[in-house]
Symmetry: C2
């Protein structure tokens, strides 16, 4: 599968939920498989906080495949022999779509903290523009996990006739304070890091040595993506160096993992983008703009497929069950599946075997 990132330019303004305008803007995206003649085989994939439009395939000269490569491809759950699978980078990101470090047309300098706050609603509105641009006015399905699952649900509510199926994994109806608190670690760690310079760091400043604040915040993230059980399995109480047990900074395996992964991440991910995307997650609330959550959900015309994971400590199965209950009470079409998993929130990225067949079934 040859992978190519495209970028769409929009000169028309994007009207944001805040009342502000983003203009002009760009959206980076990738697609896998062929668009059929009547454009009836589109599956839209939405990515999570740390993800990008690179959902499948391997770039030339690279080793690591896209984040849902196990799910997208020939013969896979999102079968590229059948479907035209498209994944776009959310606005606010640092991977190609317009974000806080993009050039502000008016000032010809990066937006930085002048970038407007974007919401999940804004992210999907931008995607609607892209799809319209491609002549796609209806899709077979929209699927995503975590923030991607929020987007899928928001699509169902805001554009009721746009998709036949909405598949939302490891998400919620509104972000709870528990999750906002996890994100708060990153917000404060970045904000207070002297190298962040109140958002005025130099472009590329963290390529060599990432921003400490982002790395520290990301540790809290990683905790919420895993579970006590997955950490037991993965790390146990193993020590990196047993001689270090009585050294103050001697490290357990779990500590080494956290350092390694978060240091790497902070070299790749832009701290301002992180703040903006976290803000979008924190402000996610399906009911905003509608009279109530009930009214919002009642708008959905697609069949909603909810998939939760038993050990998800970020968005608990009970939250997805609440959506399911509402859909049931309203007589709306839905399925709900709780996957037994020890992998915590990350299960939607890791335990593909446990839900790939289910997704294949949904699409048949």
């Amino acid at each position: 599968m040859k992978i190519e990132t495209k970028t769409a330019h929009f000169s028309a303004p994007l009207y944001l939920e805040s009342g502000r305008i983003l203009e002009p803007y760009e959206i980076a995206y990738e697609s896998y498989g062929e668009l059929n003649k009547d454009k009836s085989n589109v599956v839209l994939v939405c990515h999570a906080l740390s993800g990008s439009h690179h959902a499948a395939g391997v770039y030339e000269g690279e080793r690591k495949a896209g984040w849902w490569d196990g799910l997208i491809g020939e013969g896979k759950a999102l079968d590229t022999n059948k479907y035209f699978v498209i994944c776009t980078n959310v606005i606010g990101s640092c991977f190609g779509s317009t974000g806080p470090m993009s050039t502000n047309y008016t000032t010809q300098a990066p937006y930085r903290l002048k970038f407007p706050v974007v919401t999940i609603k804004d992210m999907i509105r931008a995607q609607m523009h892209l799809l319209s641009d491609l002549g796609i006015y209806h899709v077979r399905a929209i699927i995503g996990g975590s923030m991607g699952g929020m987007q899928a649900l928001q699509f169902g509510v805001d554009y009721p006739n746009f998709s036949d199926d909405i598949i939302s994994l490891a998400a919620t109806y509104a972000t709870r304070p528990w999750t906002i608190a996890f994100n708060k670690v990153a917000v404060e760690a970045i904000r207070r890091d002297p190298d962040f310079k109140h958002g005025n760091y130099e472009i590329g400043a963290f390529k060599e040595k990432g921003l400490d604040g982002l790395a520290i915040g990301r540790i809290a993230g990683h905790i919420s993506y895993l579970s006590p059980e997955s950490m037991d399995d993965k790390f146990g109480r193993n020590y990196v160096n047993n001689d270090g047990l009585f050294e103050l900074f001697g490290r357990y395996e779990v500590e080494r993992y956290m350092e390694y992964n978060t240091n790497n991440f902070s070299r790749i991910f832009d701290p301002l983008s992180y703040l903006y995307i976290v803000k979008a997650i924190n402000t996610f609330n399906l009911s905003r703009g509608y009279d109530s959550l009930h009214e919002a959900i009642l708008r959905i015309k697609a069949t909603v497929h909810l998939i939760s994971f038993s050990s998800d400590y970020l968005f608990f199965p009970a939250e997805m069950q609440q959506i399911a209950k509402m859909l049931k009470r309203n007589g709306q079409a839905y399925t709900y599946k709780e996957i037994q998993s020890d992998y915590g929130h990350d299960a939607f990225l890791v335990e593909l075997d446990k839900f790939a067949a289910h997704i294949k079934e949904i699409l048949q």
Copy 2:
């Protein structure tokens, strides 16, 4: 109740688990109630990470009572009409016992990072010295929550004949990677904070404006002390200022709470002490020094009372149940009680009503 902190000086060395020696050292402590003639009415209370020997009563001119004031006093669960209740500050702390900012006798300067790593075993060994000094060779009960609960269990294992009852709340048999990961946020946030100066900050440097690194790490702590449910109840999705919803740093109530509490904490608590006490928690493992956990627990002669809290996301009820199972299998005397609570790990400090009667009963 008149409250007075005493300090005991020890010139004999404290032999630490690491093989190192602490010499000389001091232990700050408080007691409530009267020691009876045959010294048979002693209850030892052990404090948690952020606690101190100030477990009950109100200091002159202050408002806030000791951390377990609801449990300790005349007619209360730990009835000071009957019992001589004593609580000591752990070594490594910054509230009076010898810790990393204490003066190293040899160099006449603060130990700082030269302070030896101390463990839960070391903390209780130091307490044994204090009690011996007071002529107390046997106690009626040892009680504590979280790190205090670890100490109580360790007393039971290391000094089997020392106490009639061991009461351990919200603790575990060995700290799991999940908890070590939560602590890792603080370790990294402190370690990487430029104002920490690799431990060479000036004494009193953070009295006015606390250390950011400690405040940030403490946010992760607070998450683990609460629960998703308690945060829902406490904060909901309320905004501090609704106009700020679309401002990048606009804050939810839960964010304001985290900022307020952690900033305050970082003005009071010494960052080096925090690192050392967190290290003691991370290295806690009842089985260390014995052939196995089973062998360790088999040593206990006291009746063990385990109290867990249903929503504790730091030390899960399943961990206490594992200890209970072992005690049962061995035919050792024990009770196990799981308290239904939404207050998470903090329940042992907050929901006294739910277990005070149970503790009173144990002591009768």
